[in-house]
């Protein structure tokens, strides 16, 4: 990754224009040609430096419901519970974390009332309590990762 790649990663994390030739407009600001920017983006996406290039959608505003849930699962039972939890299509991400609360997952449902239902179903199937921690407020500024 050279200085040009770094400039692209650092300066194009937002504000990509909505116009007829947006790459040309963004390229000009970076001192590049449209073709150069397109080729660089292709490489950055192919080598995994970027995961996507495009609009970032705000999940809740698409109409569904979202929550963060946590469980305290004994180590000996962790694999069984993981398998049960992951089987739910409503479970979008699931992370093991170092803590008594050692399983953390995001539930995403189209209908808001489905959140409580899924939580009940997971509790019944696993035998453990699910702690529901929905977002009450978001203090979002937006991370700019420095390359």
């Amino acid at each position: 990754m050279d200085a040009v790649d770094r400039a692209i990663v650092n300066r194009l994390q937002g504000g990509f224009p909505v116009c007829e030739r947006p790459y040309a407009e963004a390229a000009t600001k970076l001192g590049l040609t449209e073709d150069q920017l397109l080729r660089r983006l292709d490489v950055l996406l192919e080598n995994g430096t970027l995961t996507r290039f495009g609009p970032m959608y705000h999940a809740e505003r698409l109409g569904g419901a979202l929550t963060l849930a946590a469980m305290k699962v004994p180590a000996r039972d962790f694999e069984r519970v993981t398998e049960i939890v992951n089987r739910f299509p409503e479970v979008a991400h699931n992370y093991a974390r170092e803590h008594v609360f050692n399983m953390w997952f995001v539930l995403a449902t189209e209908a808001p009332e489905r959140i409580d239902e899924v939580i009940g179903e997971i509790e019944k199937a696993t035998g453990y309590r699910v702690y529901n921690m929905p977002k009450l407020e978001e203090f979002y500024v937006g991370l700019r990762f420095e390359a």
Binding site: G48, F53, Y57, E98, M133, F139
Partner: protein
Amino acid sequence: MTAATAIREQRASAAPLLDALDRRIIVATQEGLPRVSRPYHAIAGQLGVSAGEVMERLQRMLEAGVIRRIGAVPNHYALGYQANGMSVWDVPEERIRELGQRIGALDFVSHSYHRPRCLPEWPYNLFAMVHGRDRTEVEAKVAQIAALLGEADRGHTVLYSTRILKKTGLRIA
């Protein structure tokens, strides 16, 4: 604000008038924009509508906050940010907005949320994702947050992820 009110408000503000074409545009762009000279024209061609219509709707979704931003989404692991700690804080409820905004504005915090406590086991009501190149760097940043909070920090901890058990994007069909 109670959890119930927040959820009701969230429901009320959900899906601000997204119609079928908006949804088709979302589906067509959620993997990314085509890397061609006129990407919005390419999407329009694919959907059988005019480029003007696609651009107008994207602009509207940006203004409504349905689209947070348009641009590059870096893979933070590839950029060397290997350590990601979920820092959680017990702060006075009446100061949470002021404190959350200050923490959310720190350049190493990607997300900062107010979430309900689950007492007695879970006393933390403010969550801040802290990214660093290693745990030492994350811990130094967590110390900065603690200093910023001062007496409002009534207890905190950091939860590191040890394993991704499942990861699917949030997708609409």
